[in-house]
Amino acid sequence: MPSCRGIAIGHAPGDHPWYSVDRAQHAPLLWMTATSLMPARKNRPLPPTPAWYWRLPSLTLVLMLIAIIALVWMTRHFDDEKQHEVLINDVLWMEQDLRFRLDRNEEQLSQIGSELLTEATLSPRTEASLEQLLKPDSGLVQILWLDGADKVVAARPYTADDVLVGEARGAIPSNETNRLARAVGRPIYGPAYPVIGDNWRFNVHVPIFVGSRHVGTVVGVYSLQQLVVRELPWWFSERYRVSVHDPDGKEIAAKSKVAAEASHQQYTIPFDPPGYGLTLKVTAYKAPTRWVPVLLISAMVFLGGVIIWSLWQLRQHTLGRQAAEQALRGEMAFRRAMEGSLLTGLRARDTEGRITYVNPAFCRMVGYSEQELLGATPPMPYWDPDQLERTQAIHDNILAGNVPREGVEVRFRHKDGHFIDALIFEAPLIDASGEQTGWMGSFLDITAQTAAEALARQQEERLHATSRLITMGEMASTLAHELNQPLAAISSYGSGCLNRLDEGQVDTGELRDIIGKITRQARRAGDIIRRVHDFVRRSEPKRETVDLNAVISEAIGLIEPDVRKRGVELQTQLAEQPLPVNADPVMLEQVAVNLIRNGMDAMRDVASAQRIIRVETFADGDTLIFRVSDRGRGIDEDAARRIFDPFFTTKDEGMGMGLNICRSIAELHGGRLGFEPNPDGGTIFTFSLPLAS
């Protein structure tokens, strides 16, 4: 049955394969309530419900109902037939019985007739016969005997005509009937007539012959009521209503006052004798209801109704389900499309850190397929091997419940080897019962942004360096031009003098004049040099008393992003007490940044685990020391000799001014900048400054 599916869905969702699949597919978006996250599989479409699923039971039901109705109808019909048959039998019996009685009464009347008419006194036998005849059960209510001239001789019981009403009055007993009876020589029945008390009577005229001579007529008066009431046995009257109708169909006597249903089984026979169009109508009372079959049939009909109703309900329910499923599928397709189109990677883990779900964006981000990732436990294949410890720490921290709201930046390695910077936001996965089942993380690929930031920073640095270069270049160019002028003039004057001397025509006055001009130009050159000096002197440090620790901390803050980007570990050990120094803080900052950056540059080719920079400050008597140690490649002898020379550099993009400027700054502040090899490998730069008084 089609409804089976719907019921199964409702009752045992977990058992139903497609149901659970869809549930899993849904998991990421229902994750707050999801109890389990199963691997998402392809969703098989639900096969459409065949039409006959619904039609067959309906058809069967209709056929069954038709059969039941036919059965009921046939049973009823059969019963009616049977009843009708019984009715006919009974009616025939009754007719027989009536006729028999009337015949017997005729017989008796004819027997006693001659005596009644001929004898003055009646023998006791005749009296007994009369008495017998007038018993209520014979139907006779009066016996009259008439002589040959149709005159009433006597009657028993004697009653006047006053019971007669209407036209019957005086006409009963009817001479006409008498004549007929005398003519035919056998009993003749007269027509029925009404009497007082709404009764009907009819007479039987029995001609009496003595020998062949007609001596008179005995008339028996029957009461229809009496005949019908008294003469029928109890069982008959119990079953049927017997009524007598006149030719017009008017009921003139009835066995029962209770009216039977007109439409019900009835049978009509002519009531002959007496005849004259009288009819005897027998109507069956309604048979007592046979409750068992009725109940059974009712039960069947009721149950059939219940089945139809429940089927209808089921159908409604299933339709509702199907609509809900359809909506759910639509919703799921929508969610899946949404999930598929997301650029944000999603990854769910259980409380032990095992991956239970990943979305396509996450797979794309790290380059591993869903199958490779599901069930993976830390360390994950996409973790950066150089930062395993840090990543593991972040991972453990999240599992411990310390979730930073602003997200965590982590570096991952794509399957093909390139690195991804991801920003992770984690949220607890709570199932329907409110229990935490794991963590859901969303991953934003910020590689491009990070790269762009780094590029922007680099470009800014380069621009800065370039602008410094340009400034210096321009200054140098202007200086060169300025100096060139007097020098060129001096040279030309000199050459002219030599020309004169070579020619031998020496005019002392002229030469003196020219040499004077040479002296002036030399002084001019000297003035230019002095101007340059003045310019340089103008950029003297702006000294103030500052805490060296604070300056170094500020510098570390400045360079921190670069440190992180290069995967360098920066160890700081600053003196606990403040280190007051009388210096230009900006210049000191510049020295610190320069030294740390040089250290990092020196460790470019060193394994990441060894990329450590150590920054220390301490006081040594009246001298404050700031030390930067790296574990880089160190400084060879040749480089050591020239390291402070301007424009000496070992870096491709270096300008070669950094250490030179640093040393100048150190000297400006009355300090020193030196370096020595680091016993752990690398170099230690030491910057010393006098303690502020």
Partner: protein
């Protein structure tokens, strides 16, 4: 000491010391010179018949040396220009030389080498001047020839004998000889070869030898 037609070395520099030093240097080598404190001042004073050469700083306050040379060339001057610069670079040199600079000298320079360059520039200018003068002279002489004499001259330059010329022009040999003598006399030459040389020097050889047909 100098007249308008004397070749002069014009020193154009905004630095007074340089101007003075250079003029002293040129004087010691007997190169007459004039000094100008700016390109504008020099252009204002410049006359088309001025001879000599120009020694000019490229970078000056106001008009630059390169712009000044362009202006001079636009006015039809052919005077050689020697540029001096303290910031000499290749593109500037190429640009300057393309505009017809005679030379390009970077500071600091060898002073007497500069004088040598100036002298060769002066010689170049003198040659140019001589060619120009010759052209004017020859053109004037050509003007004096009659049309018949021009015809005869063209045929002479074509290297034809008197007899052939007489046949071509349908005149007698005697008449050709008279015309020939007249042409030589008017052009101031003694032989056909000399005539050809003179015309070539003046750059008029082609105009003087119209097609004989």
């Amino acid at each position: 000491m100098t007249t308008d037609t004397t070749p002069l070395t014009h020193i154009v520099d905004d630095d007074e010391a340089i101007r003075d030093a250079l003029s002293w240097l040129f004087r010691t080598r007997n190169v007459p010179c004039a000094t100008w404190e700016s390109a504008e001042a020099f252009l204002d004073a410049w006359q088309p018949h001025w001879r000599g050469c120009i020694v000019m700083d490229i970078r000056m306050g106001g008009m630059s040396g390169l712009d000044c040379s362009t202006a001079l060339r636009q006015r039809g001057s052919t005077v050689p220009i020697i540029f001096i610069t303290g910031h000499g670079d290749v593109p500037m040199a190429v640009s300057a030389l393309k505009r017809g600079a005679f030379d390009f000298i970077e500071k600091p320079f060898d002073d007497n080498a500069l004088v040598d360059i100036v002298q060769s520039a002066l010689e170049e200018d003198a040659r140019n001047q001589a060619r120009r003068t010759a052209r004017v002279d020859v053109a004037a002489r050509l003007e004096q020839l009659t049309s018949r004499e021009r015809e005869v001259m063209g045929l002479i330059l074509a290297g034809k004998f008197n007899k052939v010329i007489a046949d071509e022009l349908n005149i007698s040999m005697r008449t050709v000889e008279v015309h020939r003598a007249r042409v030589f006399e008017k052009m101031g030459v003694r032989s056909a070869v000399e005539l050809a040389q003179q015309l070539t020097l003046a750059g008029l050889y082609n105009t003087a030898t119209p097609s004989a047909e």
